[in-house]
């Protein structure tokens, strides 16, 4: 489409980076809304939140935190490798990041699975019968917030997939790094949100 081509001539890495930062702002506010809801209910039900948090598996949570932190490092390294024109290293590092993201999701799957087996899931009759309102709220928020975060991980996987394909094809390179850089920014955001979710649900008991 000829209308597109004239845009490509005005390639503006600074502009796309500003755009990405603005988008990150909106994402933070999206989760910000949830953090508000969380703080209000934590304030209203301190005991129930304490009790419910005991149910969560801190080991799996900590493991996933470490995985995400490492993946943030590898994607940052892959951006640097791209700047240094080391295409092969860039690709390997991106692939590692991709795999780490998958491992995170697998862990999450088993973690959620155990909860489901115990009858803990949104709308479960067991929860309504056995738990206090505060605990129901805790787990409601737990599933919504970690679920939304998991969706962001999946979106991150898609973006990384695109970046990987474009690096391999050679359309993302040292002079046009925007896609990979923005993928990196996005991935750091996903990481950052988890760093808040982890203590809020697993550590503060």
């Amino acid at each position: 489409m000829s209308q597109v081509i004239h845009h490509d001539e005005h390639y503006d890495p600074e502009g796309s980076k500003i755009g990405m930062w603005l988008f990150i702002f909106t994402e933070l506010l999206l989760f910000g809304g949830l953090f508000i809801v969380y703080s209000v209910y934590r304030y209203m039900n301190p005991d129930a939140f304490h009790l419910a948090a005991e149910e969560l598996n801190t080991t799996v949570g900590a493991l996933n935190t470490v995985i995400l932190l490492i993946s943030s490092m590898t994607i940052a390294m892959s951006t640097t490798a791209l700047q240094k024109k080391q295409k092969a290293t860039t690709i390997v590092l991106l692939e590692i990041t991709f795999m780490l993201a998958l491992i995170f999701l697998v862990n999450k799957y088993f973690e959620w699975g155990v909860k489901f087996d115990h009858g803990i899931f949104p709308g479960s009759e067991f929860m309504k019968a056995e738990m206090s309102q505060g605990e129901v709220l805790f787990f409601g928020l737990y599933f919504v917030m970690t679920g939304l975060h998991a969706l962001h991980i999946i979106a991150g996987l898609v973006i990384m997939g695109f970046a990987l394909a474009r690096v391999q094809k050679g359309t993302v390179h040292a002079d046009r790094p925007s896609l990979l850089e923005n993928a990196g920014l996005y991935w750091h955001l996903v990481d950052l949100i988890w760093i808040f979710l982890f203590p809020l649900f697993y550590l503060i008991t």
Binding site: M1, H6, I18, L30, P122
Partner: protein, 538 residues
Amino acid sequence: MQTSSKIPTDVSYLEYKGKHKGLKAWIFSTDHKRIGLLYLYSMMTLFLVGVVLGLAMKFELIAPGKTIMEAKDYNAVFTVHGVIMIFMIVIPGLPAVFGNFMLPIMIGAKDVAFPKLNLLSWWVYIAGAFLVITSVLFGDGSPDTGWTFYAPYSFKTGANMLPAIFGAFVLGFSSILTGLNFIVTMHRMRAPGMTWTKMPLFPWSLYGTAWIQLLATPIVGITLVLVALERIFGIGVFDPALGGDPILYQHLFWIYSHPAVYVMILPAMGAISEIIPTFSQKHIFGYKVLVVSTLAIAFVGYFVWGHHMFTSGMSGTAQYTFSILTFLVAIPSAIKVFNWISTMYKGSINVQTPFYWAASFIFVFLIGGLSGLVVGALATNVYLHDTAFVVGHFHFIVFGGVGFSFFAAIHYWFPKMFGRMYDTTWANIGWLIFTIGFLALYSPMFYLGMQGMPRRYYDYMEEFHAANILSTLGSWVMTLGLIIVIINLFRSAKNGPIAEANPWNGKTLEWTVPSPPPLENFDEIPEYKEHDGPYEYQ
């Protein structure tokens, strides 16, 4: 591969032949001008649906008791009317149509920063609109919660809420993408020499608007997601039966939806700030003050959401604070009105259709704004809450503000957009009838509200009859005016006399390019010299 230099500059964007033909040349075009028109046509269609629903409501209220519909249908009609008008017309309204079309030209750019993203946001808009409409056409009854989706009714009602809620979420996404695009465009693509303090006021108002879109929309997005999840799974966050707090829903909803009012009104004010100097042939009075007041409205507008909830239950301190902040917003708004009037003072006023619309905008905006102070004050709010007074105030500000400004803007920029001139006699007749109808339709609501007539009921007591008849008659007159205006514009877009490049002697950059503009707007990117500015009249 075609390069930029080969794109002909003597062919207008309307006639330019790209890769696609026919309809595809529009719905897959990344040209900001075509996208602006796509928004214009889609909004006009949806607007007419909203108008018909509004007419149906007014017809129901022509007499006490059931006239044409049951209470349940009335609930559905005001809900769908509200959702369409708020989320699809007035929130995206001026930014999506005139922002897309004019912003790049006014700042001397060839397009917005992300043209593909721009096209995507139109598609997202259509997807959202489509979702909302499916909630009406399918399922067990149209949404009946009002456009505010208040908890807990929004997840208790048997109506088909999910598509409507999800549709509003998707529409918010479109709004975010447009805002993001505009901010980057203004930061990166202003013409050389156009410093921030030389940028015209319509782009400035879009800048303030874009920040609100960006920072407020995600909150309502997540809130709507929570309501949807509440409906599907019963997670409990807003359900008092499960320990949730419905008031929290109201807070989260209004944290977005109050700033959204400024998303509506700021670009409307921006368009007026362009029209008044052009038709007064005079430098805008207090340019910098207008810029600052735009940003002040955008900023303070964040902290007033609580005034929607004075009767919902909140502490006295919170009530006083929200009330004072509400009064604070009135100051920058009043400064704007003062500056518009001062611009006219000793100007050589050229009374044309856009000027009529702009002047009547100031009039209805004043009534809407002052009535806003009445409901912003704590004591009167308790008395007037949920009465027809609020409906009157709201329509004076939102429909009066955005509607009059929209029509002012379209009559102002029409020759630029379509390269043709409209019939001014019919345009003026349409304006007069519309304005008379508007005042007859909404003014009685102030009286009715003060007499105690509640809003959102299909029925009322006999004592409210006379004023309601006047209001219904007003709705017919206003619609007649609307039809005249729209038919006149449609006919003129096809057959009107060819317009000059600068029919109003405007000084902003869009008047320096041909009408209609070529695909890439400018032969050469314009440059602002030291003494150039957007409003340098002799």
